[in-house]
Symmetry: C2
Subunit: 207 residues, 2 copies
């Protein structure tokens, strides 16, 4: 089976999952941490070399405060959980805003945890405008996420078929796979199915 | 029904269509011109305000010369056909390369043809690197496609689920609809189905 080198992860559907399960919307986020670890282990065992994980965005911080607190706490917990595994971990996002959790500042330089290995890029308070330095049609001078490679496969949970601002430059050639289940209902089968589908796609890079 | 303001069109599958119909690969492209006009008229009648059409890319020009000649000729014909309709037409792409067809140079400034109306952006010898001024992690200083608005809905023919470098900045929030049929088999029904699907999606822009 053809295995992608770099997978992008858009873990959507936390709030819809919470409502479906009789909880408050913000309660969904903490149920997304254990799926994230399970995903990490699944991908590590498959030999995936790099993963980019969509934590939260600058757009997301405009949501209700209880939700903002909940997804911020979930991202902090997730990053700390990964730091107890084997990973070459980097958190990327706009650190010059009060929305960036100070607990994650030490992770904004890439560091090998455990025996290192898989490159993990975790987006926190990210925005594509910040990434590209986009302002009134001007861009640059550099890509803030230059250290993130081209993505081969993007998997999005929660049924929506859009990138929602996720790493536009790295995603230009990515194959896009959508899982209808909500993110907290993650199972390793989702990855198996996505990889089977990916395996049947050709890679042309436009050529 | 909620109608998108701006639709992106990725008309893929011309070569596969040609092979399936017992022709040479390059013969597919000229069968894509009449579908393009039909698409234009369908969208105009629906009140779509802007369309961006993926003609060919810098990556595409690496293909066999007979194919390159065929898709270049098809793009020239398509642009000239649109210029006989009502449209505010602009051709965008890297004009500083011998791959850019000189016949299309007059169209690289936006001009109202007929009674104007729908804004049409036609990408010819386009590349996302050119668009963003991307070079070794540096970007800018400006977006070459600044005159192209944010895209609401992208429709891709030919079954592949990827952007293939299509307008990364304008596509950040776009909903992505894939038609399995090859582009030369376009029918207005494809648009109806795409719009029905789009109508059921919410618009959050990450909020």
């Amino acid at each position: 089976m053809r295995i992608p080198q770099h997978i992008g992860i858009i873990p959507d559907g936390n709030r819809r999952w919470a409502v479906q399960n009789g909880m408050e919307k913000q309660d969904g986020y903490r149920h997304g941490i254990s799926p994230g670890l399970s995903l990490y282990r699944t991908c590590r065992d498959l030999g995936i070399r790099e993963m980019s994980f969509y934590g939260f965005t600058v757009d997301n911080t405009k949501r209700a405060r209880t939700q903002r607190h909940a997804f911020t706490a979930a991202c902090v917990d997730a990053v700390e959980a990964i730091s107890r595994e084997d990973a070459s971990l980097l958190v990327l996002g706009n650190t010059e805003s009060p929305m960036f959790p100070p607990e994650l500042l030490p992770y904004t330089r890439r560091h090998d945890f455990g025996s290192g290995g898989m490159k993990i890029n975790f987006l926190v308070n990210y925005s594509w405008e910040w990434d590209l330095g986009f302002q009134k049609g001007a861009v640059g001078p550099c890509l803030k996420t230059e250290d993130v490679s081209r993505i081969d496969l993007i998997i999005r949970w929660g049924g929506r078929r859009r990138l929602s601002g996720f790493l536009p430059v790295q995603s230009v050639y990515a194959d896009f796979y959508v899982v209808d289940d909500y993110w907290p209902d993650f199972t390793p089968d989702h990855i198996t199915q996505a990889l089977e589908w990916y395996s049947g796609q050709d890679v042309t890079l436009g050529g």
